[in-house]
């Protein structure tokens, strides 16, 4: 599909996501709803990977770039947080460390456990 068509498709899905978000009774981000919508469209083969491939690659490869203005926006919050900056920074650093570590340990541990159980099962299934 031509790149303009791909852009139209992705932006259209984003618009649809925001419509759904506005209709929902609870606060749920439109971008995450768009992600779920796009996933379902791919899952039920309404869309093919090739329909959005180039546009998706462009967005994913440059993802960090799109966060620059949001990062620069911290300047505007300076007055609200200036008295607590060291404490806030410490909280951010420590919680990120704890969250990363605990998540990695749980996922890594459970994957290892699952693989081990499957191996044992397949060994048992094999005829002697």
């Amino acid at each position: 599909m031509k790149i303009l068509g791909q852009i139209g498709l992705v932006f259209g899905i984003c618009l649809l996501g925001q419509v759904v978000a506005a209709l929902l009774p609870i606060a749920f981000p439109g971008s995450v709803i768009s992600m779920i919508l796009l996933f379902l469209l791919l899952l039920f083969k309404v869309l093919k990977v090739d329909h959005i491939r180039q546009k998706a690659d462009f967005l994913l490869k440059n993802m960090a770039f799109f966060f620059i203005p949001a990062g620069v926006g911290i300047v505007a919050q300076f007055d609200a947080i200036k008295n607590s900056i060291p404490a806030l920074l410490l909280v951010v650093v420590l919680t990120t460390l704890l969250t990363f570590g605990s998540t990695a340990l749980v996922v890594g541990g459970l994957i290892a456990l699952q693989d081990k159980l499957e191996k044992r099962q397949s060994r048992r299934r094999r005829p002697r």
Partner: protein
């Protein structure tokens, strides 16, 4: 003369050009130094802030172009669906570990932020603004508002957390000996949402997709957790 400058600064092309230029400088420095702290996003943000402070450019002028770039955040999040779809077989096989990881990680994030804020003597409003720091911006703003935090402070904490995750993900992977690519991806996505995911994508397709899944899962878990926070 001054008026000419303020007109230039208020053009959408100024913000966009500054972001692209500083990001390219960041990419160049990262390629040259190959150290984690030389993260293109971090470098670009620091350079942009330096430029607007030095030339006393109003943030509103920068944001004329900045908002054009921010518009792409929604589509960038949405197309993570493609990354997830391409890794569907892996996700199906390891769905339980992935789900358990995002739940545990989100609980750790919210509770550790809550108790650390209390411990450091931060007030209730700041504490409430901080507990949402590991989820992606739209989730964080919505939750922060619901529980009585300051959404803009939450956004600052979220962005800082994300940049921290993107910068230190490779180091944290070594520190915690995280060998499995799925565990790496889920840990990045759960602890540092979409900004961290931008780094996970660079680490590999599996990491990127799993980090993308975790953004959504961690967001939902945190919404539910926020209902149980003490008032």
């Amino acid at each position: 003369m001054n008026q000419v400058f303020s007109e230039i600064f208020a053009s959408p092309f100024f913000g966009i050009a500054l972001c692209i230029l500083t990001f390219e400088i960041g990419v160049w420095i990262e390629a040259r130094t190959k150290i984690a702290v030389a993260n293109p996003l971090l470098i670009a943000v620091i350079l942009c802030i330096a430029v607007i402070e030095v030339f006393s450019i109003p943030l509103a002028s920068f944001n004329v172009g900045g908002e054009v770039i921010t518009v792409f955040l929604g589509p960038a999040t949405a197309v993570l669906a493609l990354a997830v779809y391409l890794q569907l077989a892996r996700l199906k096989k390891y769905f339980v570990p992935v789900l358990a990881g995002t739940i545990v990680g989100s609980v750790v994030s919210v509770t550790s932020a809550y108790f650390l804020c209390q411990w450091f003597g931060l007030d209730r409003t700041l504490t409430k603004s901080m507990v949402v720091k590991s989820v992606t911006t739209p989730f964080a703003m919505a939750i922060s508002q619901n529980i009585g935090g300051i959404p803009s402070v939450s956004v600052a904490a979220v962005v800082l957390t994300g940049i921290l995750g993107a910068v230190f993900a490779p180091l944290l992977i070594k520190l915690f000996h995280v060998t499995h690519p799925i565990a790496q991806g889920v840990a990045i996505g759960t602890s540092s949402h979409a900004v961290g995911t931008s780094k996970a994508i660079v680490l590999g397709e599996v990491q990127g997709a799993m980090s993308g899944v975790s953004i959504g899962l961690a967001g939902v878990v945190t919404v539910i957790l926020s209902l149980f926070l003490p008032q």
